[in-house]
Symmetry: C2
């Protein structure tokens, strides 16, 4: 395979084992844990060029590049991260990490619980954004990174970037919060709840211990992903991409596939159910629902953001109805009220919430300019 | 029980049996069928004061009043229909009918298929808006109604009102199309498809013949209704009604109920799954998806609407994102291009799609004024 010259190329995941117990927000303690991560670029001598990329609901540590011999294994943000790309690996040392509770190698529901000798399953504690950031901080310690040049993430990843700036104000110079929100609305929670109910009521869920039954709650996970996909795309994008186009030219008068959009959703659902873990999905939706830094400040976001010291780039997308621009503006206003240095870009892009994963030229130009301005 | 003086009072459903075969849009023929219906008010001597009320996805013939001895059995549009109400039963003879494929008494999946001797189940043909209107026309014949003073409906019911005006232009003097659309968008279809997949993949669905297995696909129907409810309410209404209010004051760090919105959705889902038929739900979502009067006119809505002769009232609600005001305006423009007499009201109401069922004062004032202007 010929390597694109702006790709980080073949990459290898690495593992870090942590033996100091981690007290979780929910009250329980993980006695030890593993994180799987990848790095791209070189950490400079001053250790001042490290960028942490936080993943969203279904993401993982594989941000850029590909796995040797697997040409279709491109990282989920490969269009953003690489030599010469907006997050340029010739300048930055980029770290991607699979979060706690994940299903791609970090300690999570699929990991064997040392106390029981079987996979944790749904007994894995519900971990939240604060827990993820705490675990990521352990990884930063391990890598010898006192302060990140930047922490960046989209959607749920953006919440982690924001939380980093609040929890470790001295360890984040720049926080990039993309297509995110300071907390979910009732409607957001409602969509997550339907997804969870689809999984929890799947007869193959077995109380979260489906691993030992040799099945997976594929029906539920498939429905969860289908619902998710509707909210990732804008109404306009769906109209443009599928409209009312019929699969076979005529109506079928049955419950097979009539419209192309049906085929797309089923395909996305099937594919996801074949490789993602349902317990991880449950955890990640709870982390989304629970995130609310203003909760401990009587709902006052301005007060909650007062601790931040980082410079911020906040980006939203006009057609994102899952995390609408208004939600990003709440973060911007909250930071400005605290006298923080904030850049805000509202990108006119038809891609809906998923825009943050696209390489829209205006969006990437903003990202490139911002990263170019970060001193290392 | 003391009767409210603006209630139609205790009502009784009536049955009509039709023996002439009905050719359906999908190609099959119903050899005979029943319709269950209710009437309120008196048909005048000229038979010129009849109003047909068409129901939406989960509605039925019980539009107004209550059943004797069941004080909580109020009709679904009882706030609109009654003596002194906007659709005044002192002036009009109002007819509500359960559509073909329904689960409240009209011929549908729960009816015994004479050919097999068992309930039709999912073998009941997919019926569409055109079929419903054709069946309703048979009922009009039976009742001796040559022309309706008005045909009215909200959402899927509005599509029937529109179809009446197109299919029987001489039999409809006024068509009231509320919170509706000339066809669904890809996003609308996507939501319906997830709901259908929830039902179709429920292990208790048994290919639609769950009646003979002594079960119902309650999990799937429950999820379908939860998804539906999210789209019936506006984001704002959900924020106002539930926000992020916690059921027990603190986060549970588990998969029970944290937020009030979760409790509401589960309750709505459970209640619906306990009384509605899943096969009927499948049919009704297909009827929604398939409705597109412009299809036979190369997608040209103006051409499709040219046949209408009725006067129209089109009403939309600002916060309805399922059938947004833009979709109603498409109908209005299409009618105006044909020189039709159209009134249009865009009501500022926070209730989302469900607004059409509420008694918002501006909305009801518009309805009252319009009905007052109809000569009988």
């Amino acid at each position: 395979m010929e390597e694109a010259k702006d790709s980080v190329g073949a990459v290898l995941p690495q593992h870090a084992h942590f033996t100091a117990p981690l007290a979780l927000a929910g009250g329980s303690t993980l006695p030890a844990f593993d994180l799987v991560y990848e790095t791209y670029g070189e950490l400079n001598a001053a250790r001042s060029n490290a960028v942490l990329v936080c993943h969203a609901l279904s993401g993982n540590h594989h941000v850029a590049g590909h796995y040797a011999g697997q040409p279709r294994s491109g990282g989920w943000w490969d269009n953003l991260v690489g030599p010469g790309k907006p997050l340029d690996t010739r300048k930055f040392f980029v770290v991607g990490v699979n979060n706690l509770g994940g299903c791609h190698g970090s300690t999570g529901p699929m990991t064997v619980d040392p106390a029981s000798g079987r996979p944790w399953g749904a007994d894995f504690p519900v971990v939240v954004v604060e827990d993820w950031v705490a675990a990521q901080a352990r990884l930063a310690d391990r890598l010898g990174i006192d302060a990140w040049a930047a922490v960046i993430g989209g959607s749920l990843g953006g919440m982690q970037a924001l939380q980093w700036a609040l929890e470790f104000p001295q360890r984040v110079r720049h926080a990039l919060v993309i297509a995110s929100a300071p907390k979910l609305t009732a409607q957001n929670i409602a969509f997550n709840e339907v997804a969870r109910q689809a999984i929890l009521t799947d007869p193959d869920f077995h109380g979260g211990h489906y691993y030992t039954h040799g099945v997976v709650p594929a029906r539920g996970l498939r429905l969860a992903r289908m619902i998710g996909h509707i909210t990732y795309l804008s109404d306009d994008k769906m109209a443009e991409k599928f409209g009312r186009r019929l699969r076979q030219g005529v109506l079928q008068f049955g419950y097979g596939i009539d419209f192309e959009i049906e085929s797309y959703l089923r395909h996305q659902g099937d594919r996801f159910a074949g490789h993602f873990d349902a317990n991880t999905y449950l955890i990640a939706t709870k982390a989304l629902d629970y995130f609310d830094p203003a909760r401990d400040h009587g709902g006052n976001l301005v007060a909650a953001l007062a601790r931040a010291r980082a410079k911020f780039l906040v980006v939203s997308f006009t057609t994102d109805w899952r995390f609408a621009p208004e939600r990003s503006r709440e973060i911007v206003y909250g930071l400005l009220h605290n006298g923080r240095d904030v850049s805000y870009a509202e990108i006119d892009c038809s891609g809906g919430h998923d825009s943050f994963l696209l390489d829209d030229p205006h969006y990437h130009a903003v990202m490139r300019a911002y990263f170019e301005g970060i001193a290392t």
